[in-house]
């Protein structure tokens, strides 16, 4: 069975190598898109947020932001900050395009924190500058978390002093706590909840996105055999339908593995992407290819022609890719939860875990999820195809 399946595999690979579209989908397009997107989306090194700061509070806590956090970000080269006297001036600068975002520290911020009620920073944004918006929001969100911590410190101190401290003294404590607050780091801002740098994220995202197109050639190949009449000829030979399926699956598997491996090496050497420990990457690639095969076999089982299969598989690959966040990091919110329903999301999560760890075994949960995806879809897909061929 394996000998005959290998014969089919070799023939398919020969045909696919003559079919330029496979080379495009498997290698050229993902690498080119990674390059283009990496130029469009700046990396941490060359990104700078032009932002305005409006201090309407004037207290110790606001000063912790204007004199502590912002200067630190300016020193890091991440933010180019301008101070405005009021909100209207900041809005005007925003509308003129002079700044991409503005932080408004509202009146009573310090009092609220001193009273143990926490506080918030208003963020004005230019929605056309998506990355700047995300970074400005991230900074505000990071400082808001600090304000909650400071409020907790103040409330605890006030409770311990049993009313012996004046409001001014509590504000001073809040100011001290604010001054000691750790600055908001740029890693948290740009990389959100994953550790892959933008180029590596894009390279991995594009690779796994196009993997789902690359393996479809195995499934559509089976339907092409049926359409061009060669399937009957194969089945008249001393082999079973299972051998034909195995040969096709092996072809798709080999193409997928080669495609992912080439993209990982090429993106690392040409674009400077960092995929992490090679063993962990290899495990994730194999698991990713298994998941792609299973999902696409299932989807392909609903098609009667290769064209139908190609269309259905493209839709599913696109939906899973978007849900999995192959084009942009999905963070930890609703989109992050949604990504768990996509093999693409698990693949990227696995790579993120790998980059942030010293040992390749951290990819095993993600790899397990990917294999589970493959098996759950492949079993009914194979049964459906078998029934359709009988």
């Amino acid at each position: 069975m394996l000998r005959a399946a290998t014969v089919i595999l070799r023939k398919d690979l020969r045909l696919r190598l003559r079919d330029r579209s496979v080379l495009l989908f498997a290698f050229v397009v993902p690498l080119a898109l990674t390059f283009v997107f990496s130029q469009l989306f700046p990396t941490q090194e060359d990104f700078e947020l032009t932002a305005g700061v409006v201090d309407l509070d004037g207290g110790e806590v606001a000063a912790g932001f204007t004199d502590g956090v912002v200067p630190a970000l300016v020193a890091d080269g991440l933010v180019d900050a301008t101070t405005f006297g009021d909100e209207a001036a900041a809005r005007a600068a925003l509308e003129d395009g002079e700044i991409a975002a503005a932080w408004i520290l509202p009146p009573g911020l310090s009092d609220g924190v001193a009273a143990g009620d926490g506080g918030d920073i208003l963020v004005l944004v230019n929605p056309d500058r998506a990355l700047s918006v995300e970074v400005a929001r991230g900074i505000a969100e990071g400082y808001r978390a600090e304000l909650d911590r400071i409020s907790l410190v103040v409330a605890t101190t006030a409770t311990a002093a049993q009313g012996a401290l004046s409001t001014q003294q509590l504000e001073e404590i809040a100011g001290l706590a604010a001054a000691q607050a750790p600055t908001v780091t740029t890693t948290e801002l740009i990389a959100a909840d994953q550790q892959l740098d933008p180029t590596s994220y894009l390279a991995a995202g594009m690779a796994v996105f196009f993997l789902f197109f690359t393996v479809t050639f195995g499934i559509t190949g089976f339907l092409e055999e049926r359409q061009q009449g060669t399937l009957h000829r194969l089945l008249a030979a001393p082999i079973g339908i299972g051998t034909v399926h195995l040969g096709k699956a092996m072809g798709a598997f080999v193409l997928g593995i080669v495609s992912m491996t080439v993209l990982a090496i090429a993106s690392a050497t040409l674009l400077g992407a960092s995929w992490g420990d090679p063993v962990g990457v290899a495990v994730l690639i194999v698991a990713g290819v298994i998941s792609a095969l299973g999902v696409m076999a299932f989807v392909g089982s609903f098609a009667r022609t290769a064209e139908q299969a190609g269309n259905l598989q493209s839709i599913v690959a696109l939906v899973f890719g978007l849900a999995g966040g192959v084009f942009f990091p999905v963070g930890a919110g609703f989109l992050g939860q949604l990504a768990l329903f996509s093999p693409h999301g698990w693949f990227l999560r696995g790579l993120g875990d790998l980059v942030g760890s010293d040992h390749w075994t951290v990819v095993l949960p993600a790899a397990g999820a990917l294999v589970a995806f493959g098996v759950v879809f492949a079993v009914p897909g194979a049964l459906r195809m078998r029934r359709a061929t009988a």
Binding site: K11, R14, G229, T230, H232, R233, A237, P238, I239, G240
Partner: protein
């Protein structure tokens, strides 16, 4: 002669459609057996069961003593199939197509290359062996289609309407190839709806209609089933349908059919019936513009057995 293929009581349905009903036939070593019937008669379904592509609902197929079925590798190795539709890879060359199927049938390296070269020679594609099959003419593709079927030297070669859509020159080449194979000792099962091909190639012929084998035998046996009848062909001008209806009720006429502007009548004896036939046509809006009387052929046998013509 020893029996190579034996089919007993084959039946196969697709939903409500009974495609094949109780077909039994056999092919001996070195014999060419023709399965003759119009399109949709059940020929391809029979072939599919014999080649192991379809499991029969009932009945058995035995090839060289081995039971045939979708998982019967040993029996499948004894059979070469030439499907009705072209079954080649257009993006592979003739040599690559042949080499792929040779590997699939397990031909080992040296023997594989030898057989590929031999088959290329037989099908006349040696000079174009390295060109992509998609660039071949229709006849060349047909020849490659047949070459793949005979590549592994099967004991039984099944050809399912191999000359459909083929130019006369290529068609003649294909028929000559089949004649050669049979003289080399290969059993051939040949389906066609071209009566002249069956008459030229086949030692025995089975006539199939609506999934049932209605008659079987040599050409002489089958024509003998009609008895001492003659075929009268009346070429007409005018209402040919009315002319046929008038002829059908003439004494001694056993069956009639219309081919374009000609009424075809099967009659007990042509000479005494001819005046009555001409008179019958004269009562209609049609005129007779030509008369032909000849001995019956397989086409007429089919007409006699099924009441309809053997054509698309």
């Amino acid at each position: 002669m020893s029996e190579l293929l034996r089919c007993v009581g084959l039946e196969r349905s697709f939903g409500e459609l009974k495609a094949v009903q109780g077909v039994s036939l056999s092919v001996d070593v070195g014999e060419t057996y023709g399965l003759l019937g119009p399109n949709g008669a059940g020929k391809t379904t029979c072939i599919s069961m014999i080649a192991g592509l379809l499991e029969p609902d009932a009945g058995t197929v035995t090839v060289a003593g081995q039971r045939m079925g979708p998982r019967a590798s040993a029996a499948k190795s004894e059979v070469g199939l030439v499907p009705q539709e072209l079954a080649i890879y257009p993006d592979l060359s003739a040599r690559e197509n042949l080499d792929f199927f040779a590997r699939l049938y397990g031909l080992v390296s040296g023997r594989r290359k030898q057989r590929v070269d031999e088959v290329l020679e037989v099908i006349g594609l040696t000079d174009r062996a390295g060109d992509r099959a998609g660039t071949y003419s229709g006849g060349m593709k047909r020849r490659l289609n047949i070459g793949i079927g005979m590549l592994h030297e099967p004991r039984l070669l099944i050809l399912d309407e191999p000359t459909v859509g083929v130019d006369p020159q290529s068609r003649n080449a294909i028929l000559e190839s089949v004649e050669t194979l049979a003289t080399d000792g290969m059993g051939v099962l040949y389906t066609t709806h071209y009566m002249e091909e069956a008459e030229r190639l086949c030692d025995r012929i089975g006539i199939i209609d609506q999934g049932t084998l209605v008659a079987e035998g040599s050409r002489r046996d089958l024509v003998g089933m009609i008895g001492e009848q003659d075929v009268v062909r009346l070429k007409t001008v005018g209402d040919v349908a009315a002319a046929e209806a008038a002829c059908a009720v003439v004494d001694g006429v056993t069956s009639t059919d219309v081919e374009q502007d000609t009424v075809v009548c099967l009659v007990d004896e042509a000479a005494p019936r001819l005046p009555a036939l001409l008179a019958a046509v004269g009562t209609t809006d049609a005129d007779v513009s030509g008369v032909e009387v000849r001995e019956p052929d397989l086409e007429d046998v089919f007409l006699h057995l099924t009441g309809k013509a053997l054509r698309d």
